[in-house]
C-alpha cells in the first residue's frame, strides 16, 4: 500500500529522480547549466535562458557555440519571433519596413516595454558580433557559425526597423510626426543596422535596397532622408 501511495502521490507530473521534483529522498541526477538553459528555451522561459546562457558565456567566453543560442534568446525576449521570419516574404512587392513591421514588436504592442525590446535586440546583435569575424562565415562547416551569420542579418534588419518605428508610432497609433525628434545619432544607428544586415539573402537583400532607397531620398541630412523614405515605403 505504501508503494502504491508513493506512485499515486506523484500524479505523473514529476520524474522520481528529477532535480526539480522535490523528492529529496531519491538520488538526484543533476543537469548541467547548458541542459537547464536548453529546457528553459524549449519552455519559452526566455528570461531564465538569457540568465543561464549569459553566465555560461561569461564563464567560458571562447566557447562560441553558445553565442547564437544566447542571441536567439535575447531576440525572442525582445518580441522577435523567428517563426514569423520563416513565413515572411522579403522578396515581394512590400518594403522591408512593411514586411518586418507586420511581425516585429511596435510601441503599440509593447507599450512602455518597447525600449526594453530595443535593448534586448541590441544585446542580441552585440552577442553575435562578439564572435570573431573570421569565425563568423556562411561557408563555415560549423553550424553555429552559419547560424550566427543568418541571425545577425535578421536581427540587424529588425533592429533598424524597430528603431525607426520608435519614431513613427506612439503607444496608441501610427504617428510619423515624431520623426522630427530623430537625432543624427539615431539616424546613424538605423543606417548602420541596415548596412550590417545587407547581403544576398532575403532580408539582407531587402536591407541593401532600403539603404539605396534612403540615399535616393531628398533631404540634406540622414534624418530627413530616413523620414522621407519611411513615409514613402509604408
Amino acid at each position: 500500500m505504501v508503494f502504491i501511495m508513493t506512485i499515486l502521490q506523484s500524479c505523473g507530473t514529476k520524474n522520481l529522480f528529477d532535480c526539480d521534483g522535490g523528492y529529496a529522498r531519491s538520488k538526484c541526477v543533476h543537469r548541467t547549466k547548458d541542459e537547464d538553459a536548453r529546457i528553459a528555451l524549449d519552455k519559452g522561459d526566455l528570461d531564465t535562458a538569457v540568465t543561464l546562457l549569459s553566465e555560461l558565456v561569461a564563464d567560458d567566453p571562447t566557447n562560441y557555440q553558445r553565442y547564437p543560442l544566447l542571441a536567439a534568446a535575447y531576440a525572442g525576449k525582445s518580441g522577435f519571433d523567428i517563426l514569423n521570419v520563416v513565413t515572411a516574404n522579403f522578396g515581394g512587392s512590400s518594403s522591408l519596413i512593411q514586411t518586418m513591421t507586420s511581425f516585429l514588436p511596435t510601441p503599440i504592442s509593447r507599450g512602455a516595454l518597447y525600449d526594453q525590446s530595443l535593448t534586448d535586440m541590441d544585446s542580441s546583435i552585440k552577442t553575435l558580433t562578439a564572435i570573431p569575424a573570421e569565425l563568423r562565415t556562411s561557408t563555415s562547416s560549423d553550424k553555429y557559425a552559419t547560424s550566427a551569420v543568418l541571425q545577425l542579418t535578421l536581427y540587424q534588419a529588425a533592429y533598424g526597423v524597430m528603431l525607426l518605428n520608435k519614431f513613427t508610432y506612439s503607444t496608441t497609433a501610427y504617428d510619423p510626426s515624431q520623426l522630427a525628434n530623430m537625432t543624427a545619432a539615431d539616424a546613424a544607428a538605423i543606417l548602420a543596422a541596415f548596412a550590417g544586415a545587407s547581403g544576398s539573402s532575403g532580408a539582407g537583400s531587402a536591407a541593401a535596397k532600403a539603404i539605396a532607397a534612403i540615399q535616393a531620398q531628398p533631404g540634406g541630412t540622414d534624418q530627413e532622408k530616413i523620414a522621407a523614405w519611411s513615409q514613402a515605403a509604408r
Binding site: 506512485i7 505523473g12 541542459e35 528555451l41 547564437p68 542571441a71 520563416v86 513565413t87 516574404n89 541571425q151
Partner: protein, 366 residues
C-alpha cells in the same frame, strides 16, 4: 527568397528524415510489463519472458503455456493533443493566412509526434519458447530554438525485428531455473537532427546514399542467459533473478549506425502475495550493473507492482524511466485487452526529453 526556401525544406524534412539509442532495456518488452515499471526480470507476460528472462519459462501450470499473437499500438500523448487541435480547426479565427501558418508551426513545435507498433507471435511450453517480434517507434520533434538558436527538427526512430528462441529448465528441484535465448535481430536506429542552416545535413537527406545510410538496418545473432531462484510459499513467493543480455556482445552487420548490443548484467527481486486466484507481485530490477551503456540510474532502476484479480483483471503501476507508469489488462480467456500509460525519457537525464505515451494492445491466444 531564403525564408520561403527554408520553409519548404523545413517541412520536407518531416517527410524524409530518423534514435532513441539502444540502452540496457531488452530488445522487446511487453507493454503491460512496462506499465508495471518494466521490472520484468522476475515476472513477465507471455512472449515477454523470452526476451526479459528465459528462466521464467519453466514456472507455471501444465506443459503448454502460451500460443498466440499480440499487437500493440503506441501513441504519444502530445500527438493525441495535437490531433485534437487539428480536429477543432481554426475556422472562426480572424487570423490572416500567415498568422494561421505561424500558429500551426508553433503547435507542431509544442507537440512532438511519437508513435509506434509492437507485435509478437509466440509459442511457449514448459521447456521451450519461440517468438517473432517487431518493435518500431518513431519520434519527430521540431524545436523553435535548435542547438544553434534557429528552428530545427530531429527525427528519431528505432526498429527492431527478429526471432527469439528460448530453452529453459529447472535445476535443484524447483528452486532454481536456468534459461537461454538465441535471438536473430534486424535492427536500425536512425537519428537525425537538422538546423535550418545545416546545408550539409540537408544535402545528405537529398542524396540517395544519405537516405540509404539513414534507413539502413543491421542484422546480428545474439544470446541471453538468465537464472531464477524461486522460493515458493503457501501464500507468498520470493524471487531473485540474474540475467546476462547479449552475452559476449551482439555484433550487428550492415550499413546502419547500430553496430553492437553490449553485454549487460542485471539483477531483479520479486515478492508475490497470492491466494491461488488473486496475486500481488512486487518487483525491482537493477539493470546494467556494470554500467556498460553508461545510463543514468533512473534508466536502470525499474520497479512496479502487478495486481491480478480473479486471474482475469490485471492492474499495474510502477516507475519506468523514473516516471510513474500505469496499466490495466482484461483477460477474457482467448482475448486480452491491455491499456498502458508510461513515459519514455529520451534525454540522458530526467525531464530533458520525456514522451508520455499510451499503448493499447490486443492479444489473442491461449
Amino acid at each position: 527568397m531564403l525564408p520561403r526556401r527554408i520553409f519548404v525544406v523545413f517541412f520536407t524534412l518531416i517527410q524524409h528524415s530518423g534514435i532513441f539509442a539502444k540502452g540496457s532495456a531488452p530488445v522487446y518488452e511487453d507493454p503491460f510489463d512496462i506499465a508495471a515499471g518494466g521490472a520484468s526480470l522476475t515476472r513477465a507476460s507471455q512472449a515477454g519472458m523470452i526476451f526479459s528472462n528465459p528462466a521464467l519459462i519453466p514456472y507455471g501450470n501444465g506443459f503448454h503455456r502460451w500460443f498466440g499473437n499480440e499487437a500493440t499500438v503506441i501513441v504519444g500523448k502530445d500527438s493525441v493533443e495535437f490531433a485534437k487541435t487539428l480536429q477543432k480547426g481554426n475556422k472562426s479565427s480572424t487570423d490572416t493566412p500567415a498568422e494561421k501558418q505561424v500558429k500551426f508551426i508553433e503547435q507542431v513545435m509544442k507537440s512532438p509526434i511519437h508513435a509506434g507498433v509492437l507485435n509478437n507471435f509466440a509459442y511457449i511450453n514448459k521447456y521451450f519458447g519461440v517468438s517473432t517480434f517487431n518493435r518500431g517507434e518513431v519520434d519527430i520533434q521540431a524545436k523553435k530554438y535548435g542547438d544553434t538558436g534557429l528552428p530545427a527538427i530531429r527525427f528519431r526512430a528505432e526498429s527492431y525485428q527478429g526471432v527469439g528462441v528460448s530453452a529453459a529448465s529447472m535445476a535443484l528441484t524447483q528452486v532454481v531455473s536456468v534459461g537461454a535465448t538465441a535471438k536473430y535481430i534486424y535492427a536500425g536506429e536512425p537519428d537525425l537532427a537538422i538546423d535550418l542552416t545545416d546545408q550539409e545535413g540537408i544535402k545528405k537527406l537529398q542524396s540517395k546514399s544519405g537516405l540509404k545510410s539513414l534507413i539502413a538496418m543491421n542484422t546480428g545473432l545474439g544470446y541471453d542467459a538468465g537464472m531464477l531462484i524461486f522460493l515458493q510459499g503457501y501464500n507468498s513467493d520470493y524471487r531473485l533473478a540474474l540475467k546476462a543480455d547479449d552475452v559476449g556482445g551482439t555484433k550487428l552487420k550492415g550499413d546502419g549506425v547500430l553496430k553492437e548490443l553490449k553485454q549487460v548484467y542485471s539483477i531483479g527481486l520479486g515478492y508475490t502475495l497470492h491466494n491461488g486466484i488473486d496475486a500481488i507481485h512486487l518487483s525491482l530490477d537493477y539493470r546494467d550493473i556494470r554500467k556498460c551503456y553508461d545510463e543514468a540510474l533512473f534508466k536502470r532502476v525499474r520497479t512496479g507492482v502487478k495486481f491480478i484479480v480473479r486471474k482475469h483483471l490485471g492492474l499495474a503501476a510502477g516507475y519506468y524511466d523514473g516516471w510513474p507508469s500505469y496499466g490495466v489488462e482484461l483477460d477474457a480467456w482467448i482475448v486480452r485487452l491491455t491499456g498502458s500509460y508510461y513515459t519514455r525519457e529520451l534525454g540522458a537525464k530526467p525531464g530533458i526529453d520525456p514522451r508520455k505515451v499510451y499503448a493499447l494492445g490486443l492479444t489473442t491466444g491461449f
